[in-house]
Amino acid sequence: MAPLLQIENLSISLPAGADRALAVDGVSLALNPREIVCVVGESGSGKSTLAHAVLGLLPRGLKIAGGDIRLGGLQLAGMSLGELRKVRGKRIAMVFQEPLSALNPLMRCGRQIGEMLRTHGMRDAVQVDARVAELLVSVGLPDHARIADSYPYQLSGGQRQRVMIAMALALEPDILIADEPTTALDVTTQAQILALIKGIQERKGLAVLFITHDFGVVSEIADRIVVMQGGRVIESGEAQQVLNKPQAAYTQSLLAAVPSFRPPAAGAIPSDALLKVKDLRKTYVRKGKWFGPAQQFPAVKGVSFDIRRGETVGLVGESGSGKSTIGRMLAGLVSADGGEMRLRGADLLAEGAFADPARRRSVQMIFQDPYGSLNPRHTVARILTGGMRRHGMSAGAAMERARELMRMVKLDPSALDRYPHEFSGGQRQRLGFARAIAVTPELIVADEPVSALDVSVQDQVLAMLRQLKQELQLSMLFITHDLRVASQLCDRVIVLKHGEIVEQGATARVLEHPRHEYTRELIAAVPGRSWK
């Protein structure tokens, strides 16, 4: 069977001044009819650039430097706009990562889909409407009239992505290119969209080129896999073969870095409680405009749990579950509206509790965004020693400890006089951790500290956290949406939904024998559970 799409020795150049000359370097790839090929890689691998090149959608400054992109007999590389227009949408369609920004915010969804039909010849308005309705229903939106009439901002993330898929399929293309279509979605929504794509692919016999960084997703849907790094293809082959018997060292290390869903054997459970939280509440109030009433958003609705000394408790939930709010209340960044929070008996919710330096230093935080959690204008030395100096340490002693901390997090102490932008994302998260333990806290709140990192970097940072947690006897509240990470790092897990705890217990118990409906849903949605 001849491949539908044949990419041969494709190279794409980056503008001058970039960190390398080629975004994509001599890549060859074939896409056969009715198959799903997953292109996997970390950030900077060139996988997304490759996908954009097929339809001539490279951003300014990037150019095809060599090679072919063949669709049957047509040469797509370097094709004129007029010729490309006959291919785009009709034979190859594309779906992007962030559905809110990928849809025109000022145009109703129905019109955006209809536009595609009208551009390619359908004139009759009634016919167009009917086809739009048909498409919306086929992607799992039975409420098609309301959806067609809505603006993108009025729909949820999952609904928007379905609209994008409907729009892509409007002209019945042979090939669908999907650039990380589920990365920006919640894990349960992601599972639904993956199922949708797989279903449509089977029904219509589409060929799908699916770009992703998530091996779990790959294991669920791929027929063949192409692994990319630094613009080159490292390995490619049948899904089963690449996933279970990878040949290249890079692929092996990448696969090893994916946290297993199965939790490790549970250690001894400590007994004395460090933190007791009872019936904690937080409601956000938005003032009404003019004559409207004030709106209330209950973010946390009466949450109770304990953290014992030396243990890591995972706080797991999707976006909007309130997990971040709880973390921030613990760290004293957000005030609570009710309930109790006691650290070794001391009331953390009392007026001015965090004004006491001894109390302040006892709870520290690690943040999610490696690029936003370090002051870009301060040297690393200043960032690390600031807290210590605040709490009375002399400048000399603080610097000494800062050097020690750098060694602990496996960074070179001589880098203390550098600025944050000189470090990579993973290194910055290490610095954030060093800053947190600098003031010898008793409890660390980690708010999604590895979510923004590539999987191999994530693996290293998690290993560091595991090791130091043990050495320093730290207690941690680990906030995450990723059940795999929670499984590998946490002793106990708390599952949060819409501000309420639906289940909590030992990690192994919760993940292997979930009791609550929602927990079961969350677990079922994790892609690739059967693989790893």
């Binding site: 949408g89 992007f96 145009m107 536009e115 003019w290």
Partner: protein
């Protein structure tokens, strides 16, 4: 009726501004060096002590300030903007006479600046890197740096004095008694240079903003989607990109309406155009403060009206019910 709440909020803001201007006027009269009476009398008959005493009574200047403020606000609300002793006429009458002439300049200038700016900025972006882009960018940079009054004078020098194509000043040819279409054409030829001058600076500002806004939008995801859908470049640029890129320009036009109207003082002076800007200039020369303050208040009303207009335009373009500010 979900448009009711935003409408009320915008109206509320407008009224607040007008009240603030009235209060400022009141404050200025009383904060000026010297006797408030001399401010109110302008420089007419200020030496006559009996006259001043009469004025003092009339303006209730012996009453507490709050009471004075109250009665001042009341009279403003009834369009009583005071009396010009210099000209021996109520201020409102003088303004009402001249206001239409200013609007004849201001409205076309506003539209030319806004629509012209969007068009030129979009063209510069569409043909990014070409000679057209360079020409538009250079021209807007130049206009952005030139003082309005100087542009006006140069245009008069060029088109009237040297070339004699267009009249140098005035509203219409003096002494003529035309009516209907010929009269309108006459007014139009007289208005051409002033309108261009008034529009010039803001045209440059909106062109630059429209161009950079369009350039930024070019890289947006939804534009990528539009291309991926196989739409023609015309449709992508003029339907998808433009509508989104135009929003900050409209917002800016609203905020700068005050500047545009203020420019009419300079333009009307240069072209001897009988509008309220010229009125303000004459009042300045004669130290006729009631007229000056009256013009200040009226221009605020005009600006507020323009703000409402741009707000309306914004909501038409962006149906997301978000206020532009």
């Amino acid at each position: 009726m979900r448009w009711l709440r935003p409408l009320l909020s915008v109206l509320g803001k407008s009224i607040t501004v007008l009240i603030a201007v009235a209060v400022i006027n009141f404050a200025l009269v009383h904060m000026a060096p010297g006797d408030p009476v001399s401010v109110l009398a302008g420089e007419a008959g200020s030496s006559d002590a009996k006259f001043l005493e009469q004025l003092r009574q009339e303006f209730k200047l012996d009453q507490p300030l709050v009471v004075q403020l109250g009665s001042y606000l009341q009279s403003i609300a009834t369009l009583d903007l005071g009396y010009s002793y210099r000209q021996q006429r109520p201020v409102w009458d003088m303004i009402a006479d001249r206001l239409p002439a200013t609007l004849v300049l201001a409205i076309p200038a506003f539209l030319i600046a806004l629509l012209g700016g969007i068009l030129m900025g979009a063209l510069a972006s569409r043909y990014r890197g070409s000679w057209l882009d360079s020409a538009i960018t250079a021209a807007s940079l130049a206009f952005y740096a030139t003082p309005i009054f100087w542009v006006g004078l140069l245009l008069v020098l060029g088109f009237s004095v040297s070339l004699g194509w267009l009249p140098a000043f005035g509203y219409e040819t003096m002494g003529s008694s035309m009516t209907g279409i010929p009269r309108m054409l006459d007014i139009a030829t007289h208005a051409l240079l002033p309108v261009v001058t008034l529009a010039g600076f803001n045209l440059a500002v909106y062109t630059r903003l429209a161009r950079s806004s369009m350039n930024e939008i070019q890289g947006a995801d939804f534009v990528k989607t539009a291309w991926a859908k196989g739409l023609s470049s015309g449709r992508v640029v003029w339907v998808h990109q433009l509508r989104n890129a135009v929003l900050p320009v409209i917002t800016l036009a609203g905020m700068q309406a005050g500047q545009l109207i203020g420019g009419s003082v300079l333009v009307e002076t240069v072209f001897a155009w009988p509008g309220i800007g010229r009125l303000a200039f004459d009042a300045l020369q004669q130290r006729d403060y009631p007229v000056l303050l009256g013009v200040f208040f009226c221009t605020s009303v005009v600006v507020v009206a323009f703000n409402l207009l741009t707000d309306l335009i914004y909501r038409l373009v962006d149906p997301r019910m978000q206020s532009p500010s």
